[in-house]
Each structure stands twice: as C-alpha cells, then as structure tokens.
C-alpha cells in the first residue's frame, strides 16, 4: 500500500514538474486538446436563459460561429463564440471552428443587435482561423472580417473578449478584441499558426515548436506586449482536467469585467477602446 501511495506521489510530482513550465508549443497543443471545453460548454455552464440566434440573413447559418442572448451572473448580454465540435461529426458540421464569411456576418448581425439594445457583448475566442477555401473567398472572407473589425471597434456597449482555446489570426480577431481581453493560461493568440509560419520561414512545418516561441503567442507574452489584460490560470494539465473549476473562474472574471464596465458612457467606451487599440505596436519614429 505504501508503495502505491509513494508511486502516486511521484506521479503527482512528475505531473507538476511537467506542467510547471510549459513551452509555447506545448500550450498550443493543450489549447487544441479535443476534450478542452468549447464555447458551447461555457455557454451551457456559465450562462443562463440562453437563446441561440441563427443565420446571417443573407446566405446561411454558419455553425462555426455560435451567437446567443443570455444572462451571466445577472448581466444580460449578447454572446458570440467560435464553435468547434467535440467529435468528427460535429467538427465536420462546424468546419472545425473555421468560419466562412456568413459566420462573421452572423456575428455582425448580433453585434448590431447588442448595440441596439444596449447589451454588453461577451465573445469566446477558439478558432484555428477563418476558413481558407474557394467559397469563402468568393463570398468575401476578407470583406467580412474587415467589416467585423470596424463594427466591433465602434460598438457603444462594453465588449469583453475571452480567449478559451485557439486564437488563430484574422478569424479570431474578427470577434476577438474589445474593452477587456482575457486569456486562459493555455490558450494562444497569434498572427499565424506556428506550423504555417515555420513552413513559410523555414520551409519546414516541423520547426513549429521553435517558431511558436518566437511568435510570442502565449497569454503571458501578450500581457507583456500590452495586448491582453488578464490571465485566467488553469488546473494542472489544462482546462479539460477540471472544467467545472475553470467555468467558475471564467464566470467570475467575465462578471467582474462587465461590472467594471457597466454604466460607462457609450462615447467614452468607444473612445477608450480606440485609444487602447491605437496604442498597440512598437515603432521607431525616425528622423523624418
């Protein structure tokens, strides 16, 4: 018996040391874990009175984006999220969380609705990126993302964005910034996937681990760059190990952010959101 207990202790110690100092690439892998809680899990666990909204009113209903009206901790809000599946069947229907233009247009419809009725917007970021495909290009993928960015920047309601998993490039950004940007410890947010970056710069996708570190894509890196406001710690091994615990903290943080932003003057919200985005970047003024 003592031997079993000793082995269990050893295992625990090993687990702790393994997860104590994860590399960027290891975090990317956790962020993509099939069992990691998805947007719909958060929607079910921390929101109540959920009314899901469908369709972009122009083309179709993109299941890669979930949109809803809901209540969180007494705050009535609009919710947008990237929606991945839990299994192959779901993932095919939801295109692995990669939205087409109609997905972003559905998101925009709900942003306008939130603006119209003064509902704060909560977004849940979890996508490998906007879908690169023939139809997506034909229907204006770039146009949909650009319009979503412009619309989001001018919403006269509080916007709280939460990175729960993958933050893949423009497709993530389209619903992925606001007055507060919160990230889970093992989520990532990046301009390009480490694999794609490695295959462009090194002509070898196998260099992804190295590139992931260079790209500064972890929550800690992004706090350092002034892009992310706060980090939510995860249980040892990742959010999927103890999802209930994670849901509790996420609810608390969203609620706190909404509380802090509640009652803010809409003009001031738009102004300060602009100032916040405007300040991001590092440049050399030069002599000219």
């Amino acid at each position: 018996m003592a031997e079993v207990a000793a082995l269990a202790d050893e295992l625990e110690a090993l687990r702790e040391s393994t997860y104590a100092d994860l590399s960027a690439w290891e975090r990317v892998q956790i962020s993509r874990h099939p069992d990691r809680p998805k947007a719909q899990d958060y929607l079910a666990a921390i929101f109540t009175d959920v009314v899901e909204l469908h369709g972009d009113r122009a083309y179709s209903d993109d299941e890669a984006i979930v949109a809803a009206l809901a209540t969180v901790d007494g705050h009535r809000v609009a919710v947008l999220g990237h929606r991945k599946g839990k299994n192959t069947r779901e993932n095919i229907a939801r295109n692995f969380g990669m939205a087409h233009p109609e997905g972003f247009r559905k998101a925009m419809r709900v942003m306008r609705l939130a603006d119209k009725f003064g509902l704060p917007l909560v977004t849940l970021i979890d996508t490998p990126g906007a879908f690169p495909g023939i139809e997506a290009e034909e229907r204006g993928q770039a146009w949909a993302i650009a319009e979503s960015l412009a619309l989001l920047s001018g919403l006269r309601v509080p916007v709280v964005a939460v990175g729960i998993g993958e933050g893949g490039s423009g497709g993530a950004l389209a619903i992925g910034f606001g007055d507060r940007l919160i990230m889970l410890e093992n989520s990532y947010y990046s301009v390009i996937s480490p694999e794609a970056c490695a295959s462009i710069l090194h002509k070898d996708a196998g260099m992804a681990a190295e590139v992931a570190t260079c790209l500064a894509m972890t929550a800690t890196d992004l706090v350092g760059l002034g892009i992310v406001d706060e980090i939510i710690g995860e249980p040892l091994g990742g959010a999927h190990r103890q999802p209930e615990e994670v849901f509790g903290v996420v609810r608390e943080r969203i609620s706190a952010a909404l509380h802090a932003l509640a009652g803010a003057d809409p003009d001031e919200l738009v102004r300060s959101r602009y100032a916040k985005i405007r300040a991001i970047g590092v440049i050399d003024e030069g002599s000219g």
Binding site: A130, F131, P132, G133, I134, A136, E137, E138, R139, G140, Q141, A142, W143, I145, A146, E147, L149, A150, L151, L152, S153, G154, S169, G170, L173, F177, Y189, S190, V191, I192, A196, C197, A198, I200, L201, H202, M207, V211, C214, L215, A216, M217, D221, L222, L225, I227, R273, Y274, I277, R278, I280, G281, V282, I283, D284, E285, G286, S287, G288
Partner: protein
C-alpha cells in the same frame, strides 16, 4: 574567339535585327530593356515609363514602387510626405531563417524606404487628399506596427484636415515577424477607417497586385469605393494555402480583380491609365458635398470643423442643421 562564340554572336545579332523587341543581348546596357513577366516579351524601358509601366504588348501591369504609384496618381509636385522616418523595430527579437533586423536592414537598403508604406498630403485632379501607397518590395509590404501606425495616422490626418483618403494597397498580409503586434494593426487600421466614415469623409482604395491577408481583411476593403487594377491577385488566404487545405486545383482567374468584380467584391476594375480620372470622379462627388458642409459648419460656429465631434450637426453633408 572560338568558332562557337562566333556563332553565338551572330545568333544574337540576328534576333536583334529580325525581332526588335526581343533584343536582350549582352551588348545592350542594363536597364534599357525590361521583360514582361506575363507575355515574356521584351519592352523598351522608355516606352514602359511612358505607358505607366503597363506592357504595351499584353497590358500586364508591372509592379510600381510606392513613389512611382504616387507619381502616377497625384498632381505633379503636390505630394508632401509625412511620417517619412517612421519604421518598424524588432520588438520580439524575431529570428527564423534570418533575423527580422537583417530583413529590415536589407529591405531599407534595397528600397531606400524605412517602411513598406508611404503616406502624405497631395492633390489629385485638384482635390486635396491624404494619399498612401504601399511598396511591395519592402518585405512584401506586410503590415507590422509601423505600417499600421502610418495608416492610422493617415486616417486621423484626413479627419483633422477634412481631406478625402486615397490608399493604394499591395501587401502579402500581416508581418508575422511582429507576431500579435501585427495582427492588432488590423483592428487599429479598421477602427481608424471607421472613424473616417463617421466623419463622413470619402475613402477610395485602389487594390493592386497583390493585396492579400491582413491588409485585405482590414483597411483595404473598408473604402466607400473599392477599385482594382486589372489582373491583380486580391484575397484573404493565399492560393497555395487554399489548394493545400481543400486539396483541389483552383479555378482559372481565381482571386483576380476581374473575378472579384464578378463576385461583387469591388466596384470597378480600372486600367492604370484611367486611374487618376476615376479617382477624381469618385472623390469629387461626395467630397464636394462634405467640403460645402464643413464650410457651412465653420461659418456657423466660427471654429474649425476638425475640432468638433464627428456626430455634431454640420459634419455631415446631409445631417441635421441647427434651427431646423
């Protein structure tokens, strides 16, 4: 001279005489002839310059540098650059096959520019505008902190001075060497474009070859009128990425200007020679209305329109006016 050299020389001369445009012999000084990448024919540089760098044989648009583009579009001598020294640094100390600092240095040396975009005040057909042009030679005119900042400042200047905005884009997308700082420039420039729209000022973009990724998916397509040069590659994801993802060959002409026109994504495909005239037409109509409104507002309030909030009456040509 060996016997084979003698034949080689004769060969070259024969081509020079028979097909004038194919004369690219080594006895011709560099820079006098250029080869068209589309029809592979050789074009006399002088003729190319006169033709705004459009191939006289097949109509292919040669790439323009930022200053060539500005020269094509703006009234002679009217362009005054601002933020000329602004450039990117290497905030992430990014090193892949070669370091970002090295890439920046070599791009600066090669192009004589500190960054991939040039912005300034200018007039086009007499209309005061803020004009920007991207230079694809500079790391693919990818958008990092400095490009985003210069574009955002350009929008802000246009709002302050109530000028129309004209941007000529060419870019591979976001500059991955600056990581998330690059991605956030999409939000920054889109937000700035939205403010220009709120100020009811016209914005015309000219999409040139190639305009891709994060630049297309932000300020480039947020214009009131989106023009494209013939045959330009314009899109979000690159053709290779799409082919690899969907494992299919792409249709002919996919992501070309003409294809986008057909799919309702751009207003017009305009040959380079007609661009100035086209921009002037689009600029004149909305901008005259705005300027008239701004003048009215100034005379009513005795202040400059630039200092007032954008939603105040008078900022909009068709807006409410006090006393109505």
């Amino acid at each position: 001279m060996s016997i084979s050299d003698w034949f080689k020389a004769r060969e070259a001369r024969r081509y020079t005489v028979v097909n004038g445009e194919r004369a690219a012999g080594s006895d011709v000084p560099d820079g006098v002839w250029s080869k068209c990448s589309a029809c592979k024919r050789i074009v006399y540089e002088g003729q190319l310059v006169e033709n705004l760098r459009v191939c006289p044989h097949c109509g292919h648009n040669f790439d323009l540098t930022a200053f060539e583009r500005i020269g094509v579009l703006s009234d002679p001598g009217s362009f005054v650059e601002f933020d000329a020294g602004v450039g990117s640094t290497d905030p992430l100390c990014f090193t892949a096959a070669k370091s970002y600092t090295e890439s920046l240095d070599s791009a600066r040396e090669r192009c004589g520019l500190p960054e991939g975009v040039v912005v300034g005040r200018a007039t086009i057909g007499g209309h005061p505008v803020v004009l920007g042009a991207m230079d694809f030679r500079f790391i693919g005119a990818s958008m990092g902190s400095a490009v985003g900042e210069k574009i955002a400042r350009a929008f802000e200047l246009a709002i302050d001075e109530r000028r129309a905005m004209v941007l000529c884009t060419a870019s591979g997308g976001a500059r991955m060497q600056e990581g998330m700082l690059s991605l956030m420039q999409m939000a920054k420039t889109s937000a700035a474009a939205r403010r220009l729209a709120e100020a009811r000022l016209p914005y015309i973009s000219v999409l040139t070859n190639p305009t891709m990724g994060g630049v297309t998916a932000s300020f480039a397509v947020l214009a009131d009128v989106v023009l494209a040069e013939p045959g330009a590659l314009i899109g979000f994801a690159g053709p290779r990425v799409i082919e690899q993802t969907i494992k299919q060959h792409l249709p002919k002409g996919f992501q070309s200007s003409e294809y986008l026109l057909e799919h309702g994504m751009v207003d017009e495909v305009v040959p380079r020679g007609q661009l100035t005239a086209r921009v002037t037409t689009h600029d004149a109509t909305p901008c005259d209305g705005v300027r008239a409104a701004a003048r009215r507002a100034r005379s009513q309030a005795g202040g400059t329109a630039a200092n007032r909030p954008h939603n105040e009456p008078g900022a909009c040509g068709r807006g409410r006016r006090p006393g109505r």
